[in-house]
Symmetry: C2
Subunit: 234 residues, 2 copies
């Protein structure tokens, strides 16, 4: 198989570079325990938050509802999740706490070192549905750094909507085929592939292996990606 | 003097983090020598390019002329500078070469290490009049990395226009007083101060010392800035 030679690597962040699922679960359990809620119920709230957030982003992208920031959509998702699980409504302070958690998501163990290696070799760009300030503070907390970190916000759509990927293509002034999308989500890579981007699937815990032969590259983590692209070790 | 405690450091790039003046001079001399132009004339072209570029950006910000990208304005500035110095017009290939030079500007010796230290401690953000792709490739070439790298482009104005600084304030969702602008140019820091940002003057070669007591901090390089803010050594 020929080695792909993208000029830029565009990284999904949530789930791919940081553990958003674990971060939300941990924060939700801790926050709800403080008012005496059951741990199993809190874990269900965390899972339902993710489902509601995805659905809210889809509705914004499709035009079903007006644009709202990622932060505002997460607040709405948290409230809907608590209600769905049958718990008492959260006060505003607790909701804010569960929204701000994005800025504290922990990178996977290989992420910072993998990005460090890749940055010596390729353009390393983030493209996230999160707001740009969430992305910036999350990078500070996790020791992550970029040549460019982009939020899909200017498109007023969210991945996997094509307009969201065009933010990266337009900003970099590259052709889609010169760009490789790196993500741990099949839906994200399929969205990027529809526009002609190269694709790299990163196998993260709790994500299944991708359908065979669907992507240009499949790696177990960002260090293996650095190896695959020939980025020098540090 | 109390130590300033900004939540974010926003860096001017051209002249502050990389040596744009030296990079333009070197590239202009090399390009013009290849068609037999005199070195002293080439040095005058390089200086005139900077003057024309500043004036073109000022005219865009003031509304005197429609918005154009930094790259397109530089191409126009190069052509105007060659004509002003009395040399024969450049062909398109040479103009493109003198525009692309932005992506190859060398960082000052302290820049990469200073940013590395500061990133462990503060939000480290670039804010440049350059296009975002110029900023990205320049960072790759120079080994620079950011939590967020912003072009003033979305404002369709250039620093020191207030709208250009608002790109950083709005993107970070911070109050102006929580942000420190770091620059080697008095005009840039005065522009930021008008909006209420804290200011740090970096003393670079060929830039005079700033008017006394005008800025919150004055440092000789980015390592001294890291010391001043208490960022741990690496």
């Amino acid at each position: 198989m020929p080695v792909p030679r993208p000029r830029a690597l565009v990284f999904d962040v949530m789930g791919t570079v940081v553990d958003d699922v674990g971060g939300v679960r941990e924060a939700t359990v801790a926050a709800l325990a403080r008012r005496g809620d059951d741990e199993q119920a809190a874990i269900r709230v965390a899972a339902a938050t993710a489902t509601h957030l995805t659905e809210l982003m889809r509705r914004v992208s499709s035009g079903d509802r007006p644009w709202a920031s990622h932060r505002d959509l997460r607040a709405e998702a948290v409230r809907a999740a608590v209600s769905e699980v049958g718990l008492a409504p959260l006060d505003g302070g607790l909701v804010a706490q569960l929204v701000d958690v994005v800025e504290t998501f922990k990178p996977w163990p290989d992420s910072a070192a993998g990005l460090d290696r890749l940055r010596t070799h390729r353009l390393v760009v983030a493209l996230s549905n999160a707001d740009p300030d969430e992305l910036a503070f999350l990078s500070l907390t996790g020791g992550l750094a970029w040549h460019l970190a982009l939020s899909t916000r200017p498109s007023q759509a969210f991945k996997p909507d094509p307009r969201a990927y065009e933010v990266a293509i337009d900003t970099l002034d590259l052709r889609p085929g010169q760009v490789m999308m790196v993500a741990a989500h099949v839906w994200d890579l399929r969205g990027a592939a529809r526009l002609g981007l190269q694709t790299c699937y990163v196998q993260r815990p709790d994500e299944g292996p991708p359908p065979e032969d669907e992507f240009d590259l499949v790696v177990s983590d960002l260090l293996e990606l650095a190896d695959a692209l020939g980025a020098p070790a540090r």
